[in-house]
């Protein structure tokens, strides 16, 4: 199928490169990426607002590269990157009048749009949004809609666009998909999207109840078979650093009101290795963990928004 509005590649299609080393050692004998952080340690987040002047609000977010990726960058040996770090840009356009054809709305009409760059993931993404990208857009919309005071802008629209320049992996590159496998990387992307969009909304001076931030927690087991006991709770997981993720949860959280605007839990959370006096069920521990991660992101978010306001005050 050719797309007349884009430049197409060879009609016969192309195949991604296959590395000989991968073919020989499917077990992943090469150095696995290992988590160097404590289970409750979060990655550093780089968040900056106002980089795109033509938008009403904008932000750029980057996660700190994992220890293995940083090592691979400092001393490159292999062409296969051990893991990747999230990089995304967010713009907010509006509030602006709705198009003529739209029906009346007493509230601000929120449109969210998440798109991966074709080179964002290990596998080349298409130019047209696929199901997972639409899914992310819907999740993001629910997360933000709970925070925005929409009735202040009747008959107006607000476009939020996120461009994922580099996404997180779903698993370590050498591993074959297993029974627990799902697109775990997507959850990290969503958490990043929520935090970045929140910063961009503040940069655009859109009234919100609170700064909503995203956080991820997961139950991981370091053994494929699960024989090494129940899975542990880990905050801010990088899926490439773990053998197997049993369950993961992403929340959009507003600390000032202690409210969750979006919750997305995936996998089997019935078993969890918690401390002995901890009687919470697995999913509750998981959600609490994600909230803790979101609180961590919130401090970065607050700082970025303070910078954004200092800039506005300074220029006025």
């Amino acid at each position: 199928m050719t797309d007349r509005r884009r430049i197409n590649g060879p009609p016969g299609g192309t195949r991604p490169a296959v590395y000989a080393s991968l073919l020989q050692s499917a077990t992943g004998a090469a150095d696995r990426a290992q988590r160097q952080r404590q289970p409750t340690d979060l990655r550093k987040i780089f968040l900056k607002t106002g980089l795109i002047p033509s938008a009403s609000g904008s932000s750029y977010l980057e996660f700190e590269p994992s220890a293995s990726l940083a090592a691979a960058r400092a001393n490159p040996k292999s062409l296969i990157p051990p893991s990747s770090a999230l990089k995304l840009a967010c713009t907010v356009h509006g509030p602006k009048p709705l198009p003529r054809s739209a029906t009346f709305s007493p509230n601000l009409v929120l449109t969210t749009h998440v798109k991966y760059a074709p080179f964002a993931a290990r596998r080349r993404k298409g130019h047209i949004r696929d199901a997972s990208e639409r899914d992310l857009g819907v999740h993001l919309e629910t997360a933000l809609r709970g925070a925005i005071i929409a009735e202040r802008w009747p008959k107006s629209g607000l476009d939020i666009t996120l461009t994922i320049i580099e996404a997180e992996d779903d698993r370590w590159w050498g591993d074959a998909p297993d029974s627990h496998d799902a697109s775990w990387g997507m959850m990290n992307v969503l958490a990043g999207c929520i935090t970045a969009a929140s910063a961009a909304l503040a940069d655009a001076h859109i009234d919100c109840l609170d700064l909503v931030s995203g956080g991820v927690a997961a139950l991981v087991s370091e053994d494929m078979t699960g024989s090494s006991g129940p899975p542990r709770l880990v905050l801010d997981t990088d899926p490439a650093e773990h053998r197997s993720i049993v369950s993961a949860c992403v929340v959009a959280y507003m600390p000032a009101r202690d409210e969750i605007t979006e919750l997305w839990l995936k996998g089997d959370s019935s078993k969890a290795a918690l401390e002995d006096d901890d009687k919470r069920p697995g999913h509750e521990a998981l959600i609490d963990g994600a909230v803790d991660a979101a609180r961590g992101a919130h401090t970065v978010l607050g700082q970025a928004v303070r910078e954004s306001i200092a800039r506005t005050v300074g220029s006025a």
């Binding site: 007349r4 509005r5 884009r6 430049i7 197409n8 003529r100």
Partner: protein, 249 residues
């Protein structure tokens, strides 16, 4: 050398139309102009004090692609400047030019569109004249190729374009302004100036506009340069349209 052929007002339903055929390059373009017309779907894009010029290019055997969008952009910017869009009846309306490439080779993916540019420009000019759209000037265009041995060749065919070291499409207004220049390949400025001189000669012949704005016309030179060709085509058309009047006198 066989010169181009053209005819005007060959479509009944359009406000103006023209076809232009260039035997050396093999291109045959049919163009239609509708102006001024309402563009209800483009209400937001319309300018309050000027007409909006829209150009559509349809290749002969395939659907339009990325390259056509590019060539449409160039045509729009050239013609938008020539059309007097502020005349009465034109502001907030559209001038829609549709050009169909009827004959000639297809331009392949990522190939140069410069060879077909003159044919498209001439067709749109004649169609605009046929639709009586007010224009500030007429123009003529040509494509020249420069071979590796710095020889300038006229009316490059698509195949010749592949072998050329550089390709240049130029358009000159009837008053000698450089309206358009598209050059690609490897060349230096001296070569380009030689090309410009040659192109100016092809478009206008030796005729130099005199001070009062009139062009000194020489019947002999008429056939050889493109400006004269355009003028003659329009004259012929007017002559045939007013035949009844001439006869009755």
């Amino acid at each position: 050398m066989v010169g181009p052929t053209a005819s005007i007002s060959n479509l009944n339903r359009a406000d103006g139309s023209a076809s232009f055929k260039c035997p050396t390059t093999g291109y045959d373009v049919l163009g239609a102009v509708n102006a001024p017309i309402e563009l209800p779907t483009r209400r937001d894009a319309l300018k309050p004090e000027e007409a909006t010029v829209e150009v559509f290019v349809k290749p002969g055997t395939t659907t339009a692609g990325v390259g056509e969008r590019y060539i449409e952009g160039i045509l729009r910017s050239v013609l938008g400047k020539v059309v007097l869009g502020r005349e009465k009846g034109f502001p907030r309306r559209g001038v829609v030019i549709t050009l169909a490439i009827v004959g000639g080779g297809n331009v392949e993916r990522g190939d140069s569109y410069l060879t077909i540019l003159p044919a498209l420009l001439h067709t749109s000019l004649l169609a605009l004249l046929s639709a009586s759209v007010p224009l500030s000037m007429t123009f003529a265009a040509t494509t020249l190729g420069v071979t590796i041995s710095n020889e300038i060749i006229r009316d490059v065919s698509p195949r010749g374009a592949k072998a050329a070291a550089s390709l240049h499409a130029l358009a000159f207004s009837s008053k000698g302004h450089l309206l358009l220049n598209e050059s690609q390949g490897r060349f230096d400025f001296e070569i380009w100036e030689a090309v410009r001189e040659q192109a100016l000669f092809i478009c206008q012949g030796a005729a130099v506009p005199s001070a009062d704005g009139d062009v000194a016309m020489d019947e002999e030179a008429d056939r050889t340069h493109l400006d004269g060709f355009i003028r003659e085509t329009v004259e012929d058309q007017i002559h045939s349209e007013y035949n009844w009047k001439v006869d009755s006198v």
